[in-house]
Structure formats: C-alpha cells, structure tokens
C-alpha cells in the first residue's frame, strides 16, 4: 500500500532537529504567556534576550559588545557539559556524573595552575591537559565498573559527584595560602585570557576557552560520525548484544565512552576555573553546569551541532537573567522556560503516539476508499 505524501506534522516528527526547534518555541510561548499572566510586558523579556545576542540595548539605544562576550562565556561550559552527556548517551550510557567530572577537571586545573611551571602558553596547556586526563579517569572508572561488574552508571556517577565535590574541597584547602573559600591568585601564565577577545568584547570574560570548546565540538563530531571508533560506540549504544556479536569489544567501548565523556566535562571545569576566575576556588556548592548539560544534550539530540546550538540557547537564557531583572521581568522565567523545554522534549514519545493514531486513521480511510 502506498504511503502517500507526508503531512507537515509527520515531517516534523520524523526530524529530531525540527522537534527540538518546535519544543523551544513552545517553551518560549509558555514563558511569554506566563510573563503576561503576572502582569509584565513580555516585550521586555525579548528586549533582554536581544541585548544578550547582539549587544543592542533597545531601551536606551546603546550598543555594548560585552554582552555578546558574556553570553559566549556562559555558553562554553554548557556546550562542553552537553557534549559530555551526549557522548555517553550515544553509547547508551546515562552520565549523571558530568558535575563530578567537571569538579575533578576544575580541581586538577587549579592545582597545575598554582603549582605548575610558569612558562607562557605551556602552563595553561598543561593545566587544561591535566583537567582532561583527571576527569577522563574519573569517568572511565564508572565505565569500567559498568562493563566489568554491571554497576549502574546512574548510581555510580551520582555518588561520585559527591566524592569529587568533597575531595576537591579537602585537597584545595591543602594548597598553601588557601583560606576557606579561595586560593592565592593564579599566575598570569595559567590564565586563558586572550587580549584580542578582550578588546573585541569590551572587557568581557571571554577567553581562549571559546576556541577550545569549538575544537571539542569538532572532535565529538569527527569521532562519532567519521571513525570506526564512533561506529563501534554507536553500535554499542543502540544494541549492546549485537555489537558484541559483531566482534566489538563492548567492555572497552563503555570505558572509552565514559572516559571521553568525562574529558569533555573536565574541560569545562578547566575553562571556567582558568578563564573566568583569577584564583582557585574552594567550592562552596556545585556549579550545576554538569546537570544543565543533561538538558543541553537532550535538546541537542546528543549530536555535535545540536549540542552547540542548544548550549548557546541555554547560555543565552542564563546571561539574560540580570538584564531581565533590570527590566522588572522575574529571572525565574528563564528557569521555567528551560524546564518546560526539557519537559516537552521528554514528551516526544507522546507526539509519536498521536501521529501514529493519525496515520492509522488515514490508512483506514484510504483502505475504505479503495473498495
């Protein structure tokens, strides 16, 4: 029987990027209605967002590129933590440990920044490499436990988040000159600051981390889509039994996937620490990038380009908060929008059911017309 032309809805439902776009629009629609419901002008919300994206302040008619820089600064760790979640998800793993891996990376970077050799360029490269390696190890342990002893990665990563957090606090306080919340200042050689970006964005905190994140997106795409390693990882993610049957070493791939996943989160930790701060922190609480990364990956469908865009979106919501508040829009609206987006994304299965029922109806009509 001929399937006939697809309806617009079916075409949207069969395309993951289209669903994500639809879901984001829905989220904004609800957010707008909410702002109206509490008696504020929703246009102010969009003016704040416009200012984040372009630097133009429509109320005053001024332009300041620093807003763009701050938007990108906020987006970088979200993109990286999204890649972390996404890489594991593509291999069939649910990595809730992005936050812990982020903390491990951040801590390792701080140590190398304070204790490493103060050689220009080499110093921060060493610090970033240390962060990636430590976080890869942290993630890899979970992969090994999963592959070798069938320990649920969900439980293991949640618990390892706390181990990472408290270990980071304890170890950082051992650094000489550290008080209860900060270490001495980093030497300049360890920082990721970039004078050119500083000029370009009117002294925002934007730094070399932006380029590192873009390289990470490329790396994700290349490994996942273009190499045999990616093939093995994706096969493992879709069907572990078939992968094993096909001669793929599932154990190795689970460890590898978690290690690379951890590496991305660790990179985020290093960039936040060496890019946005001039001193090491004794963490007082979790930064939350690792958790937001889960939402970023969900909206980005765990692909490299999707995660990049979705990370920029979440970064935009985050850096629009202060601008919204200055326009009397409660900043909580941004949390509601991002929350709704995640809820709608999770409803994808529901969309599928509705469409199935529709196509069933259509098939019935066609069948009766044939007679």
């Amino acid at each position: 029987m001929k399937a006939g032309g697809k309806t617009f809805l079916e075409r949207v439902a069969s395309s993951n990027p289209a669903i994500s776009a639809l879901v984001v629009l829905l989220g904004f629609l609800c957010g707008t209605l909410l702002v109206i419901a509490v008696g504020k002008d929703p246009l102010n919300m969009y003016r704040a967002i416009f200012q984040v994206l372009t630097g133009w302040d429509l109320t005053r008619g001024t332009w300041n590129s620093r807003y763009i820089g701050e938007w990108l600064v906020a987006s970088v760790p979200l993109i990286l933590c999204g890649l972390s979640m996404g890489f594991a998800a593509r291999t069939g793993l649910f990595n809730i440990g992005g936050e812990g891996q982020y903390i491990v990376g951040l801590t390792a970077a701080q140590f190398v920044a304070l204790l490493g050799p103060q050689v220009p360029v080499l110093h921060w490269i060493l610090a970033v490499t240390a962060a990636m390696s430590a976080a890869a190890l942290w993630g890899g342990i979970v992969g090994y436990l999963k592959a070798r002893y069938s320990v649920s990665e969900v439980v293991a990563t949640i618990m390892m988040n706390y181990i990472a957090f408290f270990a980071s606090r304890y170890l950082t306080q051992l650094i000489p000159g550290t008080n209860t919340y900060k270490t001495p200042n980093f030497p300049e050689t360890a920082r990721l600051a970039n004078d050119w970006l500083l000029d370009l964005t009117n002294k925002s905190r934007l730094n070399n981390g932006l380029f590192i994140a873009l390289l990470a997106v490329l790396f994700f795409w290349f490994i996942m889509e273009k190499t045999r390693t990616g093939f093995a990882l994706r096969a493992t993610g879709f069907n572990k039994d078939a992968a094993r049957y096909g001669g793929i070493d599932v154990t190795k791939n689970l460890v590898l996937a978690m290690a690379i996943s951890g590496m991305f989160a660790g990179l985020a930790g290093a960039i936040v620490s060496l890019g946005s701060f001039s001193y090491g922190r004794v963490l007082g609480g979790m930064d939350g990038y690792g958790f937001t990364g889960i939402a970023v990956a969900l909206v980005g469908n765990s692909t490299a380009p999707g995660t990049l865009i979705s990370g920029l979106l979440f970064g935009m919501l985050q850096s629009a908060q202060p601008l919204m508040q200055s326009r009397q829009i409660p900043k909580e609206v941004t949390y509601i929008i991002s929350g709704l987006v995640v809820v709608f994304i999770s409803l994808r299965a529901g969309f599928g059911l509705i469409l199935e029922a529709r196509s069933k109806q259509r098939a019935r009509k066609e069948a009766t017309r044939d007679e």
Partner: protein, 523 residues
Amino acid sequence: MENHAIEMLGITKVFPGVVANDDITLRVRENEVHALLGENGAGKSTLMSILFGLYEADGGRILVRGKPATIRDPNDANALGIGMVHQHFKLVHNYTVTENIVLGLEPRSRAGNVDLASAGKKVAALSSLYNLDVDPKARIETISVGMQQRVEILKILYRDADILIFDEPTAVLTPQEVDELMGILKRLRAEGKTIVLITHKLGEIKSAADRCTVLRRGKVIGTVDVAATSEERMAEMMVGRIVQFRIDKGAARIGPVVLSVRGLTVRNAKGFAALSDFDLEVRAGEVVGIAGVDGNGQTELIQAITGLTEPDSGTILLKGRDITRMSIRERIALGVGHVPEDRHKHGLVLKFRLDENLALKTFGRPPFSGALGLLNFRKIAEHALEMIRQFDIRAGEGPATKASSMSGGNQQKAIIAREIDLSPELLVVAQPTRGLDVGAIEYIHKRIVEERDKGRAVLLVSLELDEVMALCDRIAAISKGRIVGIVDALGASEREIGAMMGGHRAPGQTDPGAGASGTGGAA
C-alpha cells in the same frame, strides 16, 4: 449439519499501511475441527484476535451459534463460550495447576477464603474426562511444556467454553507431544466441542482437521474439505504457487573435519549444566543438524562455539586450532560465520542503516576503514548495493534503509548475506527461517545448501524437525544438554529422531556418554 458455531462475515481490519483482514468470511460448523491455514502475516492471528475480543474489527459482523454477537474484550468471548489457547502460555510459574486454572474465578468457601479443594476436584474430573493426565497439584515450573499446554486447555474447559481456538499449538512441542495433542483434539470433538486450529503446518491439518480455510495476504482463498484435498493443493492455495517440498541437493562431498567440539560443558546462569560433556564434529562440505526441543542446550552450544558464552570445560577446535577462549573478533577473523537465533537481539542493530548492518563485522578493516580509523562510507554503501543485488534483499531506500523498517524475511536475508560474504570456514546457523514466509524460506535453504556445496562446514540448529530433516546430511539429536544419538539424514525417520529428542536412545545407537536420564536443569 449446517448449524454454525461461528460465522464471521465480511471482517475487515486495517493496521497502518496494511489491510490485515480484507472482507474475510469464515464459517465454522458446530462440532468440527476447522483449520485456519496461512503463512505468517496472512491474517490468521488477527482474525482470531477479533473473534476473541483482543482487536476490534473495522467492518463485518460476527454470529455465534446463529446470533449476532458483539465481542469487545476477552470477557465477552468467555461469556459466549469461546476460549483461546495462546501460542505463548499465560501461566504463573510458581502457582500450582489448580491455582492457575481458577485464577480470576476463585471459588470461595463460606468463610470467604479461596476453596482450592473443590476446584482441584473439578480440575481432576475434567482432566480425566478428556484424558489429559494433568496433576492438579503440580507446580507449573515443574511440568513439561506439553503439560503446560494442557493446563491452558483445562483453563478454558473450566470456564465452560465449547468453542476452542488453538493458536499455533504445536510450535513448542516434541513430535510425540504433537501426536498426543492431535489425540486430545479428537477427544474434545468427540465430547461435542468445536475447535479452530490456527497453523501453517499441513501435516497437522491432515491428521486432525475436518475442514480448512486458507488465507493469503488478508483474503480468503477458499474453504476445503481436508479429506478430499491433497497437501500439495493446500500448500499451493496458501502460497499462491506450486511449492517444492524437497530441497534439491546432491550427495555431500565431505572433506576434512572443520569443527571439533570435545567434552564441552556450559553452565547457565543458575549454575545448571545446560550442556554437559558434549562431543560433535562437523566436516567440510556437510550440513550437520541439531534436532531438539527448545531449551535443551542448543543456545549454549552455539554461543560457546561463536564466543558469546564462555564454556566451563571442554575444547572447541576449528581446523585443529583451539578457539575455546578466543575473542569473538578473532573467531570471525578465523572464519566462523554465525546466523544468530534471535535476529533482533544479536543479528542486527535495528536503528542502524542496512549498509551499516552489512558492515557490522567488517567495518574495522579495509576497505571500510582506512588509515587513522576513518570510515569509508562510500565503500560501505557500495558493498551494501552488491549484497542487495546478490542476495535479493528488498529494501525501500537501498543501503540507507533503516534495518527496523525492513520485513523479517529481508532482515534475515541481510544477516545471511553478511555471514556468507565473510566466506566462513564454518557457518553456524540457528533458526534461520523462524517467522519467515515460504518464499524466503526456500531462498535461505537454497543458500545454505550452496554453502555446503562450496565445501563449507555448516552447523544448523532448528526447532523445526522438517527443516533439519530436509537440509542436513547428518542429524544429532540433543536432549538435556547431551547428544542422544547421531544419524545419517538419508533413511532417518521422523519417528526415530523424535524419540531421540525425547531422550530415548534409538536402537542400535551406541553413543558413549549419552545417558538419557540427565538431571540437568534444561527443562
């Protein structure tokens, strides 16, 4: 004699993209055994599900004993005296026979607690009336599959059904149990019951049914009197063309030993020896078949040979090389091809494209992977096109077709293509035609015989005794994880092999270490 127990008139049922039942009319007379014959996907199960209230028809009427009936769910069907023995039993394993039978209809004593004693008496009475020989106090997990089926029958009889639907009842039975079931069907008819038998096996229809309605692609082809119709004629009605029952194959040109299994013992997850002290040899140019009832160690044997399971003891030699502890990848490289028994679990990555699935075992080496581990997608797609051509795989979007959107027959062809393309020394084939239609079965059989004629060693495991008999040169019967006997396929009778599958050594067999009374947990 024109009293009809059931009349289904002009039944139409549409699923997305498929008309499963297209204006089907089925008339079942009172007190007859009426067979419903058709290939997989012909619409038999859909039609019976409508009668049993599991699906709602999109068009048509149902009359039960001449009266119009509305059947919305199985409770309506039960109220009309219609009962169904499903292909997959619906029994609670740690309950007794009686408990299972009364489930949902528990008789209450005056104090309000369940009165199992009186229920047990009724079950025992029914059991002896129909010669079912079921122990009402036995626990389900301790009785054989054949017995479990009888419990399902009792469940229906207990609910006073007089129209009984059997959905592919022999799929899980040994040949002896099949014979016994045929006897039970006759007994049920003698007691005045009406029976609808869903099947695609012609032999069963010949031995038990009075009339037969043949379905093909959702339409009724005709209703025939079984006694006056040949099996060939019914097969032709079912398939739509003349079917060759015999597989053309010449004499085997047997070469040296390729696979040698010695003293293999595999324990299952519960620690029972699913396979114990198992010996087998497969030589180049022959097909060796393993005949046995499901769950007697076949799965463990295949998984040990292909590397999915690690054996507890024993050795597996491929052309004299010990592969017992080798990785799966090494075995593939040495030439072990494997058509797995569960094509969705092991055979395919359903969310992958067809071309990716066809490269599932070879993506890591040239020409599919180049320097730096880069994949060559062009080569992967070209290879898929070649496989599609050679093996007649029907896929709507060519190499880019999602495996999940292909039909079962074409999925299986893709797996066979991939495994044969590896040009393996040893081809291990498990259940190659399960759930496929006659056309695909013929094709796959032909390909397996071709591999044998090319001088490959083929090990075939199938639960279909017909298939084993038709394809193999030698047949090893397996029971409780041990070989009961090995016979030449030429001159072997179904009875003889059936007896061995039941654990009884055939006369004249002197196979050492094949004690028929194993205590393994392979029940």
